[in-house]
Amino acid sequence: MKRIVLWSLVALVIAGGIFGMVKLGAKNPADRTGPPIDSTSLSDWSKGNKEAKIVLAEYSDFQCPACGAYYPLLKQLNQELGGEMQFVYRHFPLRQIHANAELAARAAEAAGRQGKFWEYHDLLFENQREWSEESGAKNIFVRYAQSLDLDTGRFTNDMDSQEIKEKVDKDYASGVKSAVDATPTFFLNGKRIQNPRSYEEFRSVIEEAVKNSS
């Protein structure tokens, strides 16, 4: 009898442990809220409908695998709901843990100077594994610029320019001001939202906001 009680108790404790951890695992850790952000500023990179009432802003780091995982979701979201919302991208390079994140942000800005920010943004996420851990990432970034037919001389100069460094710093500082501490972090009309767990969830969050705004 005692044995049955003991082993039943053990089975219960193990099952409870698994259940608890799965529940905990389903939660998103980024549910801290901070002050709202200014939804758009003139220096922001944005796409979609610039007149839309719904603005989705992302603080992102090109080297962050989670941002890479969200990239296809956002691309699809922009394709399907681009007419009803504006999507804003802001840099939040986690320099302490991602050695190439800042350089990648500056490379995207430099490509933006030649009108190809979004094309470059896509290239960085699609090839994230190729350059993330490379000590010679700069050469890879120049190669990407070449593949987009950019002026590589200008691209290299811009990447190292003070102006672009300040732009990246400004984005980062605006995130810090709103308690951003992880990437990606999303703001819907300036208010921080919990990271949706799937494309469907993301889509319904945006659709709900569109419905409420009309």
């Binding site: 003991l6 442990g17 951890m21 799965v22 962050c64 695998p65 843990i97 501490d181 767990r197």
Partner: protein, 160 residues
């Protein structure tokens, strides 16, 4: 839990009680930690990148899975095995189960050292949950060494 305590009081003449509780607590913490990472893997929810956990880098790296099976699942199995074996010892009072566990702990320790090396020198990111596992497996290994020492002493006594 009372029946567990009663069992503990009855035995443990040669094996200190704290050692057995240590095995139970550490293996259970390790099991919860590894189960959490496994759940994250299968639920497909990316752990955010942040200065504090560094986990997304580690758990999404090529080293986090072997043949599509997350290493955290193997970790959960390892800790669960130790947990169940300690309970089996409490149930059957057979000390050789404990000595078997002590021979099992170097496996977990070596695996943890390998993962620590990968985090520090290859992935260059430290995942908090992996460090919890490193701590539990190291402590289990130390408890295993203490047990082995006790076993050595016991054998010496038996021989004389």
């Amino acid at each position: 839990m009372k029946s567990l305590e009663a069992l503990l009081k009855k035995q443990l003449k040669t094996v200190p009680r704290w050692l057995v509780w240590g095995f139970i607590a550490l293996s259970f913490i390790g099991f919860l930690d590894a189960t959490y990472l496994t759940a994250k893997h299968y639920l497909g929810i990316p752990i955010n990148c942040s200065f504090f956990t560094g986990c997304e880098e580690v758990t999404s790296s090529q080293y986090a899975t072997i043949l599509d099976i997350p290493v955290s699942l193997a970790g959960a199995g390892y800790y669960l095995l130790i947990f169940v074996l300690v309970i089996a010892y409490l149930d059957t009072k057979k000390e050789r189960i404990l000595y078997f566990i002590s021979r099992l702990t170097p496996l977990g320790f070596i695996a943890s050292l390998w993962f620590l090396y990968l985090q520090l020198f290859v992935i260059k990111a430290i995942c908090l949950y992996c460090m919890i596992s490193f701590t539990t497996s190291t402590l289990l290994f130390i408890l295993g060494l203490i047990l082995l020492q006790l076993e050595g002493k016991e054998i010496a006594v038996n021989k004389s």
